[in-house]
Subunit: 127 residues, 2 copies
């Protein structure tokens, strides 16, 4: 894992851009990514239905609008399918509880190590 | 009604700014305005609940967001409680089916004539 540790802010993206993804890794990545996106939509949809049912005042309406706008922006920000950032995306999804390390089984250690590193770093930050 | 006919684009606002509203007319106007606003919110809430129940895809979510945003802007635009524009606001609400001429009973003819004129003009435009 030592070699995966970014040594500077410039090192990390350069490093990830150089990592190669095999066809089977791309398949796994795509499947996990799509599943996480679907779970995100399902969670938002469930919350929206509950919020809609509870609407009583105009401010409840605009709270729902705000929730939808924030959710859309959050999805745009979080779900970035570029291989150069995908391990960071997966690390964030693990921290959010949308995916597990287990689902990424089949990716090579050059990705998994990075995902672990990034998700542990995020977990420490949120402690 | 002849004297109420605006003779130029400059005439109409000048005319309405000069019209005096008695305390009892202001009471009626406020009551009708608030009732119309409540009906607008009720209609939006009903539509939002139905749309929320039918959500199946992400695009349904963003369609709901868009509906809420448009509704909020529409309310901001339509519900303008300035006496200088109130007859036009009431005319629009009549055209939209949110209020009836009957509810404005008690306002003096200088307002009612204007409301009739404006709502008939809007009805003709939408034919």
């Amino acid at each position: 894992m030592e070699s995966l540790q970014p040594s500077s802010t410039q090192y990390r993206p350069t490093h990830m851009r150089e990592v190669k993804w095999s066809p089977s890794e791309k398949n796994i990545a795509r499947r996990v990514f799509e599943a996480a996106l679907q779970r995100e939509f399902d969670a938002i949809t469930q919350e929206v239905k509950q919020m809609a049912q509870r609407i009583k005042t105009p401010s409840d309406l605009w709270a729902l609008e705000d929730y939808l706008t924030q959710s859309r922006k959050e999805i745009d920000r979080k779900f970035d399918y570029r291989y150069s950032v995908l391990p960071i995306v997966f690390a964030q999804l693990i921290t959010d509880g949308r995916i597990t390390h287990e689902e990424l089984r089949g990716l090579a250690e050059d990705k998994l190590g990075y995902v672990r590193l990034a998700s542990e770093s995020r977990a420490r930050k949120s402690e």
